[in-house]
Every structure is written in structure tokens, then in C-alpha cells.
Symmetry: C2
Subunit: 279 residues, 2 copies
């Protein structure tokens, strides 16, 4: 069995590794990638290949940053057309259903089958079940091979877009809560209400306090990526939904946290001090 995984980032690399460990031959396309990515792909047991070889795999997974999803779809569709043989392309990215529909249109029907996928949970680690791969639009059960080779796959009954919508909604809640906590703890620090707020959260919302205490520090290195993800959620909700504005604000907040990290992490330091009871 040959599967191609485009994208050898933390998630793509770990998913490929899991497939390789389960006997799958995993191709990937590495042209123009950084040395770190190439090394990660190697450690995962991925085999570097050109796009034409990738297009020949029986199943192609796209696991890339949301902003890259369309370009990857275009490159891959062109390679499939050059080769002239239909295959199955599964977009697993954190993109809105609208963007997912664009991806499907890029392939058209002459390239084969397009599946709407999304990933919820962190990259798979040794000894753990790993994240869930949601998939919809899979009438031909093309994703079964993933479940048979070590991945958790969950089917959604629904048209193309439902798996992407699920990811948007889940991320909106999960990363939204982290954003709310970050914003309000920073405001409390500025206002001299931080110690009282921390104590009140511990007393009256202990589960949420515990979640924030771990989720906020985990966010710092990812904040730059979350900017685009929050913008994608805002677009997903659409201008008619007042909640779209919430995620424009979230994008701005994560941009601020990404900039803070670039400039020495002063805000992160204040948040950590509060979370660790250092004040």
C-alpha cells in the first residue's frame, strides 16, 4: 500500500510515522522544504518523491498550514492531470468549508475523488491512540485504509464541508477559550486585579482554571499559526454572524502573542508568573 502525505510538519510527520510503523509505504514531496522538515520526514520514514510520483499514490493526504492548502491542491491536481490516472485526495487541513469547496473544485471530477478531512487532537505519539481523523464525503470508503494502518478515523455523514466545519467549530471553542483566558488574565495584570482573579477562578471555575494553566503556555509557540486559523474561523462564520467579529479579535490577540514571543516574551512571562502563583 502506498500513501502520499504532503506536509511533513509536526502533524504530517507524526501521522506518516504511524502509517510507516503499520507497514505503509509513505511518499512525500519535499522540494523547497527546510532542513528541519527534511530531517523530520526522514526520521518518520517518509520517502522523498517528486510530484508526479506523489500523484501516483492510491491516497494523497494534505496536512499543511491552512494558508497553503489551496496551493498544495493546485500543484497536486496539475500533477494528477499530467499523469492521467484518477486517485483520491484528502484535505486534512484546518480550513473553512468554503475553502474546502474551492479545493474540491480545483480537482474537479477528472482527477478522481476529493475527501473533506480534518484532524482533532495533537500529533500521534508512541503508545497513544493519537488524534481523530474526521472524514466526510467518503462514499467509496477510501479512508478505511488509514483506520487499518494505525490511525483513528471517524466518518461524518454529511456533504463536503462538514468535516472542515467540525474542525472550525471545535477549534473555535478550544482555542477560543485559551484566547479568552489569555486576554482577561493580561487585562487583570494591567489593572492590579490579577491575584484576585486567579484565586476566584481557582475557587469557582477550577476546571477552567486548570485548562488555562496548561493551555496558555502551550499556545505561545503556536500563536503565529493560530492567527490564520482564527481568521479562517471568522470567514467560516461569515459576515452575517456577529460571532465572526469574535474571531477577528482572537486573530489580533494571537498576533499580539506571536509578536510578544518574537520580542522576548514579556507578556508570556507575566502570564506564567501569575499561573505559577509567583505574584
Amino acid at each position: 500500500m502506498e500513501i502520499a502525505v504532503i506536509g511533513a510538519g509536526a502533524m504530517g510527520g507524526a501521522i506518516a510515522k504511524r502509517l510507516v510503523e503499520n507497514g505503509v509505504s509513505v511518499l512525500t514531496y519535499l522540494e523547497g522544504r527546510s532542513a528541519v522538515t527534511i530531517e523530520r520526514a526522514k526520521r518518520a520514514g517518509m520517502q522523498p518523491a517528486d510530484l508526479d510520483a506523489v500523484a501516483g499514490a492510491g491516497l494523497i493526504l494534505s496536512i499543511v498550514p491552512p494558508a497553503t492548502a489551496i496551493a498544495v491542491a493546485e500543484q497536486t491536481a496539475a500533477a494528477i492531470r499530467r499523469r492521467g490516472l484518477k486517485t483520491t485526495f484528502m484535505d486534512c487541513n484546518a480550513i473553512s468549508p468554503q475553502t474546502m469547496k474551492q479545493v474540491a473544485e480545483i480537482f474537479g471530477s477528472d482527477c478522481g475523488t476529493v475527501l473533506d478531512g480534518s484532524i482533532i487532537g495533537g500529533p500521534p505519539k508512541a503508545g497513544q491512540k493519537g488524534p481523530k481523523l474526521y472524514v466526510c464525503g467518503d462514499a467509496g470508503d477510501s479512508s478505511a485504509v488509514l483506520a487499518e494502518h494505525g490511525l483513528q478515523v471517524r466518518r461524518i455523514d454529511g456533504p463536503i464541508g462538514a468535516a472542515s466545519a467540525l474542525k472550525m467549530c471545535y477549534a473555535g471553542i478550544n482555542k477560543g477559550v485559551t484566547g479568552l483566558g489569555t486576554a482577561m488574565l493580561l487585562a487583570a495584570i494591567r489593572s492590579g486585579a490579577d491575584a484576585a482573579l486567579k484565586r476566584e477562578l481557582q475557587e469557582s471555575l477550577p476546571d477552567l482554571d486548570a485548562k488555562l494553566a496548561s493551555a496558555i503556555p502551550d499556545m505561545y509557540p503556536k500563536a503565529y499559526r493560530w492567527v490564520a486559523e482564527m481568521e479562517e474561523i471568522s470567514e467560516f462564520l461569515g459576515e452575517d454572524d456577529p460571532a465572526a467579529l469574535i474571531f477577528k479579535g482572537m486573530a489580533g490577540l494571537y498576533r499580539k502573542m506571536a509578536e510578544d514571543r518574537e520580542h522576548g516574551g514579556l507578556l508570556a512571562e507575566q502570564l506564567d508568573k501569575l499561573n505559577n502563583g509567583g505574584r
Copy 2:
């Protein structure tokens, strides 16, 4: 001991009742109030009085909707000036530190002492400790009388504004989480991803799922009030903070839920159905 409580809403009435049960004589000002409010004040054991009598109480609490806080401060300050005797005014409302500073300026130093208070938690019920009254700027310990008569009082070291900031930050997290859940569950319902989202939340964020399942239905009748509270949080954060936009979006979302309630509650019904596993 005589205390005045301006505002005989659900919170003001219940706090007055707790004080009355602990032997305090509680005055209130009811001119122009609805029959429901007058009845609630009566049941709480509050004594109707004119503003001049209210101004003569040793401690005056303002417990009103945020949009009314300034008007109450102006009326009360005028009555204190007419009477010519200093007293202590404690604003307990969900207002921003900026608005709290305005309140303090309205009284000036000739009216006596102004305390910045805020209330976290629901109205006190029989047999329960009740909400926490946070207070700052209380060098003279004027709030001690409240703690001695059945209320939970917690002092914050900090300038006028810190208790208000605490309330803004806490409400921003607590009501913000409810808003995020509401927005994303509605988006999932629109997109056919609702059942999958509910199951994923139950599995990977069970505490948050449980909180949303109770907090969302509790919100419907309060949504109209939360609009102003979200706008106040947005102002508190200020235009320089990208998170201010988050709360403009929250205000819009709660406006939508308030309008839904006025028009038959279709959205609320969809949310309830999902939460109760009815799909």
C-alpha cells in the same frame, strides 16, 4: 445599623434580604420602579424611602444594571449634597474601571467615601454562602459591616477600579466561554457537524461540555442584559487591545440570542435539542 440598597432586582433584592435576615434595616428607593420590583423589595424586607432618606444611610450600595450606574450615582450624590452630611457609597455594578472612576468623580470628596465594589456569583439563596462582594479602595474598612451581617466580602489591595476590573475579567472569561460555545454550536448545527462536535466535546473536553450544557440554557433569559456587559468589557479593554473586538462580537452574539428569545426562541430550541442528545 441602616444600609441603603439602590436597586431591588434579583441581585439587589437577595442581598438586601440577607442583610435584613441578619438584623440590618435596609432602605431602598423605588420611585418609578415596576410592580414586580416593588413586590420583590417588599418580600426582601426592604423599606421604601425617598432619596434624601437614602442619602442619610451610613452605607449606600448601588446594585443596578451597568447602563444605570452613572445616573444612580448622580441622583445619590445630589441627595447627599442636599443633606450636607458625608456618607459612604459603594458601587457594586458590572462597570469598567473607567466608568467606576467617573462614578467616583461624581461624588468628589465632599460627599464622603466612594468604594469600588463588584459581585461575583449568583444572588444569595437560603442556606448558601452567596456571591462574593469584592471591594477595593476601602482604607476605612467601611465594608466590614457587610461581612458582619451575612455577606461574603473580599478586600482587594488596589486603587479604585481594581474590583471593577476583576469583575470585567471574570465575566469576560465566564460569559465569554458561554458565548463561544453558543456561537460554535449554532455554526455546527448550520453545517451538519453538530452531532460530531457534541460527541467530540464530550470525549475530549468533558468539563467544558458539561459547563456549556448548563450555562447556555441559563443564558437565554439574561442575554439582553449581557449585551451591555459585553460592550462594557470591550470598552474596559480599550481600542489598543485587539481583544476589545472579541467582546464587540460577544455583544452582537448576545443581541442575536436576545432577539431570538423575543421571536419564539428557534435558536434556543436547536441548542437545547443538541445538548439533550435529541438529534
